[in-house]
């Protein structure tokens, strides 16, 4: 593998690593220039994002360890955009200001690098490696606010749960290696097709599913999410709910679509059950949440359930995979936007209780309007991004004649409307205690602006995004 090929394969990753190291060294050498660090990080991310189109050519790198294909590129784009937005959010998040920002942004960049490797990994070792890299960075970021007991408690729970799951994932991978004799996903697929169904194979799949289920916070491996999301600093909550979840989905898709062919082991009924349970449990529990971050945590669990619908129907309808992709893209903008406004409010009021959101419409018209737009889009009302995602998912279910799934999804979206509108009601319909307006920091305005723009554009003109998502050949 000549250096040219290295560069061709992981050019963007390398650039981002350099940026990360740069940020780390600046923080170490010029402590005074701490204000500039975040912007350098963002610049690095933007450069990497810009490089991505040049590195789109399909190829297998490092003898099968990494693969560059439309799925990987799409997820890299999602990962980078979400990390950029999170970095923007972190700049003006008050508790984070002046609290080891250097380490924070370095970890963030390494998190992004790990994610880029994760989505491209086609080899069990690479998957485990990238999974760990991402998780470790995430644990540290969640516990970043050392002095706040909630943040460290969140980190602990997240760590313990995550470590156990990745341990089991490793054990599953080892069994799989034992069964198939290879670590390459496609190699595994042939071996599995040849050997057919066996208890060990099922055990391996379930164990690996634990690891991946943890990543995308799928029920029953979601228990860490509400506490972690509530405890972690809000930008990191956004990061966990979007970026790491997207990474988890990328790996899940690759493992299920490549390594476990349906004819050998029909994982669809199992995933069907998990998807329905995730969706329903997430929505139902969210109904009575008093804290907006916990509410958004459960809502993001439910959204994972919706994306799973696309994954479940992946094999039965050509619309399956693209619908999952478009939903993830829409979800990215809606969710991070919502968290951005949560930061604006917590910066001003210092609380995440929904009661404190009362009368927000009069105090911060722009912020509350955009939160309302994000929540309405999460409910799936046109002409916003959420609707396009949900519509395409419904199309997939109907095309795959999974009518029951459509009905369940319908009921779920109605229950979801119930709690999304409790927040909207608090903001618009209830009277607030005080009237003095709330300002928003410049980077936050940018973040909210970008996400708002994303939500409207995908909603009104989804064509480019659909083409982008539909470019994924099923078999990849």
């Amino acid at each position: 593998m000549s250096y040219a090929e290295y560069l061709a394969a992981i050019g963007p990753e390398i650039a981002l690593t350099i940026a990360a190291l740069l940020v780390m060294s600046i923080d170490a050498l010029w402590p005074r220039s701490v204000r500039a660090i975040p912007w350098i990080g963002i610049a690095g991310l933007l450069v990497t994002l810009a490089m991505l189109p040049m590195f789109r050519a399909e190829r297998v790198a490092f003898s099968g360890l990494l693969v560059i294909d439309p799925l990987a590129v799409l997820f890299k784009v999602i990962a980078l955009i979400s990390v950029i937005l999170v970095a923007l959010l972190s700049i003006s998040h008050r508790p984070l200001r002046g609290f080891h920002e250097g380490e924070y942004h370095t970890l963030l960049l390494f998190f992004a690098v790990g994610l880029m490797f994760l989505v491209g990994a086609a080899h069990l070792l690479m998957i485990y490696l990238a999974l760990e890299m991402v998780s470790l960075a995430a644990y540290l970021l969640t516990g970043h606010l050392k002095l706040d007991p909630r943040s460290s408690e969140a980190a602990l729970k997240y760590y313990l749960f995550g470590a156990l799951c990745s341990g089991l994932f490793l054990y599953g991978a080892s069994i799989l290696f034992g069964l198939t004799g290879t670590l390459h996903l496609d190699g595994i697929a042939e071996a599995v097709r040849a050997s057919g169904l066996s208890a060990a194979l099922l055990a391996a799949l379930v164990l690996m599913l634990i690891g991946l289920g943890f990543k995308i916070a799928m029920v029953p491996f979601h228990l860490w999410a509400p506490d972690a999301y509530e405890g972690a600093p809000t930008p990191i909550t956004a990061l966990l709910s979007v970026a790491s979840k997207a990474g988890g989905f990328a790996v899940l898709l690759r493992v299920l679509a490549v390594a476990f062919p349906l004819e050998a082991l029909d994982w669809q009924p199992m995933l069907w059950v998990l998807c329905v349970v995730t969706m329903s449990l997430g929505n139902v529990i969210a109904v009575r949440q008093g804290n907006i971050k916990r509410l958004l945590a459960y809502s993001s669990i439910a959204q994972a359930g919706y994306v799973l619908v696309g994954v479940v129907l992946m094999r039965q309808t050509p619309a399956g995979l693209p619908s999952a992709m478009i939903y993830l893209i829409a979800y990215l903008f809606m969710n991070i936007g919502a968290f951005a406004v949560v930061i604006v409010v917590s910066n001003a009021l210092g609380s995440d209780k929904i009661e404190d959101y009362r009368g927000l419409a009069r105090r911060a018209p722009l912020a509350s309007a955009s939160l309302a737009v994000f929540l309405v889009s999460l409910t799936g009302i046109p002409p916003l991004a959420g609707f396009i995602g949900k519509f395409y998912l419904f199309a997939a279910t109907i095309d795959a004649h999974a009518y029951w799934l459509a009905v369940i999804m319908g009921v779920n979206s109605v229950v979801a409307a119930f709690y999304y509108f409790r927040v909207v009601r608090a903001m618009y319909l209830d009277a607030g205690k005080s009237e003095e307006p709330i300002g928003t920091a410049r980077p936050l305005q940018v973040a909210v602006g970008v996400t708002l723009l994303g939500t409207f554009v995908i909603g009104v003109w989804p064509q480019p995004f659909l083409l982008f998502a539909a470019a994924l050949p099923l078999g990849f």
């Binding site: 485990y128 602990l156 313990l160 156990l164 341990g167 080892s174 034992g178």
Partner: protein
């Protein structure tokens, strides 16, 4: 050459102990140790398989390589885990996992 079965049995036992330990130990450090056990069990498994099963020559050493990586990552994970436990101790003066339930419902 020791046949494959004993290795698998030992590895399965180790995993069982690890999971049991994780579920019952009250102290966070105890859980950390049991998770280490699970990872090592998996590494053992990998090494055993890499020795006994027929693999293409390209991947003959894949198992050992994976085991090595697993150990490295286990170390990293342990470091991160310990730092988080220290934070918890500094904030809430306890590592007893059942007492750390500030956030619930």
């Amino acid at each position: 050459m020791i046949p494959l079965a004993p290795f698998l049995v030992v590895s399965a036992a180790l995993v069982a102990i690890g999971v049991f330990g994780a579920l019952t130990r009250r102290s966070a450090l105890g859980i950390l140790m049991s998770i280490e056990l699970i990872i090592n069990a998996a590494a053992l498994n990998l090494v055993a398989f890499s020795q006994h099963i027929r693999t293409s020559d390209a991947e003959s050493t894949a198992g050992q390589m994976f085991a090595l990586f697993a150990m490295a990552i286990a170390a990293a994970a342990a470091a991160v885990g310990l730092s988080i436990v220290i934070c918890i101790y500094r904030n809430s003066k306890t590592v007893n996992v059942d007492k750390i339930d500030l956030m619930r419902w």
